[in-house]
Amino acid sequence: MARVNDPELTKRELHGVVAEMYDRMVKGEAPTMTLPVRTKNNIGFDKKLGVYKYGKKRSVRDASSLGSAKNLLRALHVVEFIEEMIKSGKSSTLREMYYISEGWGYGKFGSQNDSNNLAEDLEVITTCLREDFKLRPEEDGARMIGNLTLQEKNRKGEWMRINARDDVGDSGYGVPYNVEIEKIELLEHDVDFIMAIETGGMFDRLIENGFDEDYRCALLHLKGQPARSTRRILKRMNEEWGLPVVVFLDGDPWSFRIFASIAYGAIKTAHISEYLATPSASYLGITADDILAYDLPADELSKKDVEALNAELSDPRFADGWWQDQINMMLEINMKAEQQSLAKYGLDFVTDTYLPEKLGELGLA
């Protein structure tokens, strides 16, 4: 586990980054920062962990150009900022850090993206988590509904017991950005599996139709590409409760990527895949053959879609036969379909027919 949760260790790791720059200057060289290459060409399957991790390729960022020199200076400012937060027991969002950098002179960030990337760079190098850095993401986590009981520590430091079916409204339980053990404890449940859903519309449809009750499951809204905390809580429920996870997405190349980040690990966060990914998660649909089998209203693939599919063919995470078949089939029929396209057969079709049939294939219904 990458999780350290030890301020002293975090500081030591960060000082290692600073010392690399310092030592190079003492030697009369340009200061550098060495980090793993973060592309699909440098991820590989870790047999021990069952997820995809960064390989051995390293890139060196040195101060020979203005852009990278500024990046090194920014990293130093961020390190200093993190140390201050650790010392004072505060935390900040990435966006706040971006604005705080206004006062960093030459070390100021050019865009929010710069600050997000740098935070990730530091995570990758130090193998610490941004939670250790006291940095929070902007995006909120997922919504959850179902007969699950957990407790969350509120701002006053008191544990609150919450049942995600009885103690919440229609919007469900909101997953906080920190879902670690010091913040959330999983207590008990009475469901058979968890279904993660891509779109809010489908999530609400299943709730309205009472699907969670009928099929004894918990529903989780991913909100597109899922936030870290969403993936993390899925992983915890899967591991700690031993609940199967099924993923219900649109039928397009981007959904395949969402699934890969849930099940195998995302390329951008491959340094902490073992902490975020749920290798046993299953892809429920919509698959390429569903489009044909259910004769769903479909759109033609765009140029970008085709490019994405072709890129997936060479992505190690989609190397197995089933995925290669799905991707090739989608390219062949040149079609994609949304979850909502099931409404072609009425509002109840998804809960009465489609999902039961698909879950049946997985042995869950």
Binding site: H15, V26, G28, E29, A30, P31, A63, S65, L66
Partner: protein, 715 residues
Amino acid sequence: MPLLNNLMQKEYFVQGPLSLGLWRTLNGEITMAIAEKMASNQKQIAISEFFEKNKHFLGFDSMPRSIITAVKESVDNSLDACEEARILPDIKIRLTKIEDKKDVIELMAEDNGPGIPEAAIGKVFGQLLFGSRFHAIRQSRGQQGIGITGVVMYSQLTTGKPTIVVSKIANETSAVSVKIGLDTRKNKAIKSEQDRIIWEDDDGVLKEHGVKVTCRMKAKYQRGKQSVYQYLRMTSIVNPHAAITFTDPDGEVHHWPRVTERLPTKVDAIKPHPHGIELGQLQRMLRESKESRMTVFLRANFSGVSMRAAKQLCEAAEVSEKAKPSTLKPDPIRNLIEAFQGERLCEGRIVKLLAPPINCLSPIEEMLIKKGLSKTIDSKFISTMTRAPSVSHGNPFQIEVGLIFGEGMVGDSHVEILRFANRVPLMYQQGGCLLTKAIEKVDWRQYGLEQAGGKGVPKGPAAILVHLASTNVQFTSEAKEALADNEIVFEETRKAMLEMGRGLRKHLEKKKKMAKTREKFELINDILPAIAAKSAAILGRPVPDLSGSITKIMNAIIAEEESVWNKETKQVDVKIIFYNYSSRARQYTLLTNWPEKSGAVMVGNERGGRKETTGIWAWKMETLNPGENAMIEYSLDGLEKGDWTETDVFFRGNQEVIGATKMDEKMLEEIRNQEEISRAAGIEIPDDDIIDEDEDTAPVAEGDNRQTTLFGGEA
């Protein structure tokens, strides 16, 4: 027909009585056509009829064009008059819409020229074909258009109103004011309400001399590419010595200030060159000649003909040297033309003729084009060049070009092309013009402009100026708006464009390189020390010494240049800092260029050094150890603000220098050679005074002037 006799009497006029010579009417081909037509036609032609029939090529074919032509005629006259009288022109043009009358515009044109004597006014304004300029072989504006009489006629034909002329010459106390109408049958002016008046300007100051013309005509004022505004703007670019004020019909006042006190070089008329003469012209010259012998005739009436050449021409043409020119028969005349053209040989060889003298040309000159352009277009990079004079078919000509590039200009449309012939803007028929074709032939993509397929008018934030100065401008048609194809002129123009393009590419490359260098300086001066300080603070260790890291990061030798105008001293202060950021000690010779040809003088150069060639100075620098720098400082005197904003730095040495160009020794050699040629040809360098007309000046090879600049070499 006394008028035509007058025209035929002499083949060329060097100069008429001064103030008469200032006001031209018709010229060139049109005149010849009319004159011959009228001579052959015994009946009196009503001039108005001729005008009506030919107004399309006289510039009065449409209402928007008529007003441009009218303004053009009066401005051309004013500029020519001022030039000959050596007066710095102040020209005022005012257009007013006449109320209640649709499409009637009043034109008021005023200058500070020498004025026209009372007795000559009627002829100048009221008689077609009057003027002394006709047929003089030299560069003049008046190779175009019908002249001011055409304006008087147009306004009379369209509004029935006479033209009001006010004129004052310096040695009279009062001005003459008169209304001019035309008797189109007799080709004569009808004067009315003639009076002597006291002429004061708007501030109540007595006017010393000048002419003011006021007339009304049917016309339409338009804006855009073909407008009075554009015509005046273009005129002001190529006449940097003129101040022009324009009040448009909406009352908006546009002013183009004078940017130089230097008048255009005074040009002399030259005799025709045998290469440029046609049969009819030669026949006429022979018929009217008073000379008793052919050799004397040839020597006296042509340029480029030495005594030896005159004898050889006669031999080649099988004409006796002693023959009386006025009695020569058609066949020998044809033989003579063939000998002129080199089709008949003397002793098996073409008769060698000297090139015509080139002092009949008055180029605007590089520095003044630069000033003219920069006053009307706001931009960063301006490159201009005046090619050495060349000769085509016996006619001396000279190409001048300017390229302006950068901020403040539209980037995504075609570049603006500003065409001129003898300082007259060409505003119509851009596509059919030789000058445009030469621009289109260049692949501008390699010089940093966009161009579909590498041909056609390029796109980008730029404007290109082309000026042809010539004693004989050939147009595609009577409309005189597009230059006719001519291989030699085309090649000269194209070469000048390539030169401009190279200058532009250099500028863009340099800009890119300097931006990179500036980044590196920011890196080592600001970022690296901050990294050192911050990392030391976080780790609680001492701040490391950075000299080693700096050398590693820069790993270069850098020259930084700065040329800035010093308001106090009225000089350009030049500073060059030379850094050695490499790991070894370095020794170089640095060179810079300065506008010596434009009269700049280098002052306060304490490092000494020596002059390498015209406009190039060299300093042998001391050895610089890693991390050291050295400075060169001097000032340039004798320039005006904006004349010199960028100094080129060159070096001799092994390692590349960022911010400087390796000296091309062959190019230096070329510059020295060119100087030799020019000196031998009698062109003074760096001074540009007029040279004496001397038939025995060294020949300028046709179509090859071996021109090169520091960035030159042929493409």
